[in-house]
Symmetry: C2
């Protein structure tokens, strides 16, 4: 059996180009004692992957040149030498941009493909949903009646954040680009949607958040972060989940000029990394699946197909072309 893969070929400057990747193949590895072989069905494409391509100290090591690109995956166990897993089990893991992966099982989570489509365990019910869940509840700590503002709200994480905020009795306001995405936020139950492409952010945030912003969940950075900082409520919490506007900069990152709003409002800005909450994954996933089953959590996926299309599909994230969690389906 053949395992086709994308490995890193060059260090990108700005947006990754096709020549930054090497598409190749090798024989499928056989699992050793204690390991399982997983056939990958879906690959999760996430903005954070861009960060893993940069040199330097971060929350996990960068993917070195020559290595298979790291990515979250959902698939099925095709051979098991690990007592915890049986052939036919559906699992999510981090097998990267390839067709087959071998794992000792420590990073694998078994999922119930009967309760939701397999791909949703990469998105709203998987790491994406978990990022929303832990960022909102562990860092943002919203209280009933508070206002939660979310940037990148039509994105995979943002959409879940807004819905969880509503479930928790908060006012949810989303920022997204374009009328379609804003209409989608209303479908998800957001109280207000702000189109950053056609509206003035600061004045729209002021209108949509008349009592100020208690929790700002930021996926975007740049001007969006600055606008939100200008409308913080006292004791606000700014959750730094990402900064997609800045990831492909070839100039320095734009720091938030309005950061002194943290002082004036006795507010805090805090970053988090979802991997730190591993011990609580199962508990949180159960909550997300329950919300989904009850119809309280809607999940939108943007599914593309074909492993060979990875370099191009990945760029959709940075061009704002995906609408919902971006997943690359490579097998059924």
């Amino acid at each position: 059996m053949i395992n086709r893969q994308f490995r890193r070929a060059a260090r990108p400057v700005g947006l990754p180009k096709s020549t930054d990747w090497a598409f190749g193949q090798e024989p499928v590895k056989a699992p050793n004692e204690g390991e399982v072989l997983v056939k990958v069905h879906c690959i999760s494409l996430d903005p954070a992957m861009r960060g893993w391509m940069n040199e330097g100290k971060s929350y996990i090591p960068p993917v070195a040149l020559g290595e298979v690109m790291r990515a979250g995956t959902a698939g099925v166990v095709v051979e098991s030498k690990n007592a915890r897993f049986a052939k036919g089990d559906y699992v999510v893991g981090i097998h990267g941009v390839q067709e087959y992966g071998v794992s000792d099982g420590r990073d694998l989570i078994k999922v119930d493909a009967g309760k939701a489509p397999l791909s949703s365990y990469l998105g709203g019910l998987g790491m994406t949903g978990l990022s929303a869940y832990f960022g909102l509840y562990e860092i943002g700590k919203p209280k009933e009646g508070e206002t939660v503002l979310v940037s990148g709200a039509a994105g995979a994480v943002g959409g879940v954040v807004g819905q969880l905020a509503k479930i928790s009795g908060c006012r949810a306001v989303g920022i997204a680009g374009g009328a379609d995405k804003c209409a989608y936020l209303k479908e998800l139950g957001f109280d207000e949607a702000i189109d950053y492409k056609s509206q003035d952010l600061v004045s729209e945030i002021k209108k949509a958040c008349p009592k100020g912003v208690d929790v700002f969940f930021d996926n975007v950075g740049g001007e969006t972060l600055d606008a939100a900082l200008s409308r913080l409520a006292p004791h606000a919490r700014v959750v730094i989940c990402g900064a997609i506007s800045q990831y492909n900069n070839t100039t320095p990152v734009k720091g938030p000029s309005n950061y002194l709003s943290l002082l004036v409002n006795r507010a805090k800005m805090e970053g988090f990394v979802v991997f730190d909450y591993r011990a609580k994954y199962a508990e949180a996933m159960a909550v997300l699946v329950a919300h989904f089953s009850e119809g309280k959590l809607k999940i939108k996926e943007h599914v593309e197909t074909g492993l060979e299309n990875f370099p191009d599909v990945f760029l959709k994230l940075f061009r704002g072309e995906n609408f919902g969690k971006l997943v690359l389906k490579i097998a059924d």
Copy 2:
């Protein structure tokens, strides 16, 4: 009796000029029932006063044009119609840049002029010391053995922060401008002093904080904040006390480009306002006075004299010309 005063005359652009002030006089007001009349001995000059001259929403209202400039003061009760105060009591309050003030007593704190010079209750044992105390302990929450980095370390707040960090069993590293100030930091017991005027900040912070920065207490902002962010330890706390490098900007505030270090390090950046801790002032002042009496807390004052010199003396703060807490003495 005559009360000489500085009132606001114009809105400053950048550094306040002498024409931004009006020096005048009026008869001393008599206290009403419940009030006391205080003769001001010393006026506290603080960077935060510059912020109070700007328009717009902040943690306290701006000082309007025509009003006496707000400032912390230490003085003596010369007439009392309030049962809590007697003639001859030494008190600190917020009587502004003038010779006499009337108060209903709610903002006054009685101090013991026998235990420390009256002026020190404006500085290391007063609001300045309290800012250091609450910012460090309530926001920074240093643990024994951690590294506390302080900017503006030779300043009034910074010097106390470093000494409290040492008392709490931490490694204290200070950033200050010039060899004299750095030598002074060593006198105060800082483990390391970094001269931002002659050394490369990022590499010096790296050297002085080999395990990373657990708590960064920032009084400066700008490049200094960025340099510190680049060396955060996991779960670091950045305390935003001020941003003296940015207060007189006529260009936008420089936001911290390295703020995504908060994400990578699961760190937080939080502002605070000392006035929020009013209920704990007495308790904290008792701790500071005890440290002072035991010789564990050294306080440096930069005393200038003469009410009429206020506009010029105030600027020393922004030119880095004061060395220690800046106090304007206007009576003995």
